[in-house]
């Protein structure tokens, strides 16, 4: 039998590169991986064919594929705007649902939309709008007003309605009259204290498959592959969930965190409930989703290197790099202009490492929950907001700055719990793994067909550091 008949091809149509991973389903291992610049502006197939050519060359034989599955973050990713009522409640719930669906949240609006905000919204031109507002049986006025505004605006993107169910019949009428495409689904916040994001996530994924792929110029590619199943961040989240929970036959790694450092953002994913790990702590705030993703748009190693610098100041870098003369600002400025630049001198390597450490530390601090001590007549009371991740035993790092670093463990150590900031509930003593072959998206895709094999491939190829 032709051995390549057991091969599965997994493609990530990224904004910069089209990446391929070839996995042998029988031997449960990675055979090869290649990448070529994405060509989404012209014909997405050009970049894909280049990468495929490299793959064939590396294998020296004609390849046949048992499966061809893809994910995409090309053409800006899945750009979503979320609209809700109160910022801490339905607005935050909607934002979490969108992030959990792998979207890039490009706008967040609360209360009734103003004309100015509608104009902003039109110029943002998102791929999907998530319209929330009101608990079930709660406020109707705001979501109805916002639906009316959207029905009159110049946008034609699909609207996912996930607000007060009592308003849904009226919303249907309003959006029909505006000839808008929409889906009405479960409320993201049916009651105060109840977050319901799973249904919204799966609706967003359906809309992505049915509508967005075509509008992103990926239709040609869709004919080549079996399916473009999800946005790339969703594939990574799917892998995270599989790695954590395992399957009936193959045990997972337990609760975990994945950190993805990129040129423009640093993403953190956590799988776990994050309940208080110490007694006497009261948890408050919006409930946390079991699968949580946060995206730090100001913490990127290239496009946003200067905002990392601003967050901690030049002195921090001089001190950490042991060079009081260094013009950090100038160096960082160059990085944000020449975004494909790799470090050369030892100072540049160390600067890159410190940027990565800072990005990882801040992204983890924002993702993890915190403790706020307050004092009352009964003494000190500890109130927890967000997830307590102190007990997390597994942290997986991915992204160029980690993969190419000579000492990725030094970068990841920056996210560990520190006595100097004891109220930030970061992992206390995790083991670190490196996704050195940029594999996670492929594992997420593969888990859709063969979850056990996908999990075993991941376990085999993630490197403990």
């Amino acid at each position: 039998m032709n051995k390549t008949a057991n091969y599965g091809l997994f493609i990530d149509f990224g904004s910069t590169f089209t990446k391929l991973v070839l996995i042998d389903f029988h031997a449960e291992r990675i055979v090869s991986r290649t990448q070529s610049p994405s060509t989404v502006d012209t014909d997405i197939m050009v970049g894909l064919n280049n990468a495929l050519g490299q793959l064939r060359e590396s294998q020296g034989e004609e390849l046949t594929f048992r499966h061809k599955l893809a994910c995409s973050s090309a053409a800006g990713g899945l750009r979503m705007v979320t609209i809700g009522l109160v910022p801490e409640l339905t607005v935050e719930a909607g934002k979490r649902a969108a992030l959990g669906a792998g979207a890039k949240v490009v706008g967040v609006y609360s209360y009734q939309l103003t004309k100015k905000e509608l104009q902003d919204l039109e110029s943002i031109a998102p791929d999907i709008i998530l319209l929330a507002g009101g608990t079930d049986g709660g406020d109707r006025e705001t979501i109805l007003k916002n639906a009316t505004s959207l029905s009159h605006c110049n946008l034609h993107c699909p609207i996912v309605v996930a607000g007060n169910k009592v308003a849904s019949d009226d919303i249907q009428g309003i959006l029909d009259s505006g000839k808008k495409e929409y889906v009405i689904t479960d409320n993201v916040l049916p009651e105060i204290g109840v977050l319901k994001v799973d249904e919204v996530r799966s609706i967003i994924r359906e809309v992505f498959i049915n509508r967005i792929i075509e509008s992103k110029g990926l239709k040609n590619a869709e004919q080549f592959v079996d399916g473009i199943l999800m946005p790339t961040p969703t594939a990574v989240l799917t892998a995270a969930r599989l790695l954590s929970q395992g399957t009936n036959k193959e045990e997972g790694l337990g609760e975990l965190v994945i950190v993805d450092i990129g040129g423009a953002t640093t993403d953190v994913h956590s799988i776990g409930w994050g309940k208080p790990t110490e007694s006497g702590v009261v948890q408050k705030g919006l409930p946390e989703p079991f699968v949580k993703r946060t995206v730090e748009g100001d913490l990127g190693m290239r496009y946003n290197a200067s905002s990392i610098l601003q967050a901690v100041g030049e002195d921090h870098f001089r001190r950490e790099l042991g060079n009081s003369e260094l013009n950090v600002e100038k160096q960082v400025d160059q990085l944000s202009h020449f975004t494909d630049r790799l470090p050369e001198s030892s100072t540049e390597w160390r600067l890159d490492a410190e940027l990565a450490r800072t990005a990882v530390r801040l992204a983890m601090e924002r993702h993890a929950g915190s403790i706020e001590p307050t004092y009352g007549p009964q003494g000190q009371i500890l109130i927890q907001y967000g997830k307590d991740l102190k007990g997390i035993r597994t942290v997986i790092g991915t992204g160029g700055p980690l993969v190419f670093s000579p000492a990725p463990e030094n970068i990841l150590e920056a996210l560990v719990f520190s006595e100097s900031n004891p109220f930030s509930l970061k992992p206390r003593a995790p083991s670190f793994y490196l996704d050195q072959e940029y594999l996670l998206y492929a594992i997420g895709l593969m888990s859709e067909i063969e979850p056990e094999k996908a999990l075993r491939v991941a376990k085999k190829h993630l490197r403990k550091i």
């Binding site: 009522l85 109160v86 608990t135």
Partner: protein, 140 residues
């Protein structure tokens, strides 16, 4: 009868949860939709929950004796948030020590709480008053 929504919670740095649970039970039994925010609730959290749920009343419990400080400006914050005419109720150990109840009640009425209850009030009384104040008629 149209179900009325009430926000319930214990205001401030105050962990007294027992009365809160009893009140929740009693109000539910009387047909109210109860959104219980539990303990350690701030004024802002009460008001934000009232906006999102389009609540008819806010029932503030305060047991630790700091009520006078913690409740100050509650009505003004409601007005600012567009919920100026919401029915405000407060009850519990509102002040420290033994003070004249009429004076205490007056203080909280001046803060524009619609109803002020002393310690040990029966939840039944609170529910009956609430029905009357919100214009609910028991169907007979």
């Amino acid at each position: 009868m149209e179900q009325k929504t009430v926000i319930l919670g214990v205001l401030g740095v105050d962990a007294h949860v027992v009365g809160n649970k009893i009140m929740e039970y009693a109000l539910r039994k009387e047909g109210f939709k109860v959104v219980n925010l539990g303990v350690f609730v701030t004024q802002e959290e009460f008001i934000k929950a009232a906006i999102e749920t389009n609540a008819d009343a806010i029932l503030v419990g305060t047991l630790c004796g700091h009520g006078e400080l913690d409740c100050r400006g509650f009505r003004d914050s409601c007005i600012e948030a567009g919920k100026g005419d919401i029915h405000l109720v407060v009850g519990g150990n509102l002040v420290v020590g033994k003070q004249d109840w009429e004076e205490v009640e007056q203080k909280f009425k001046q803060m524009e709480f619609n109803r002020v209850y002393p310690p040990g009030v029966s939840p039944k009384v609170v529910a009956e008053d609430l029905k009357m104040d919100l214009g609910i008629k028991d169907h007979e």
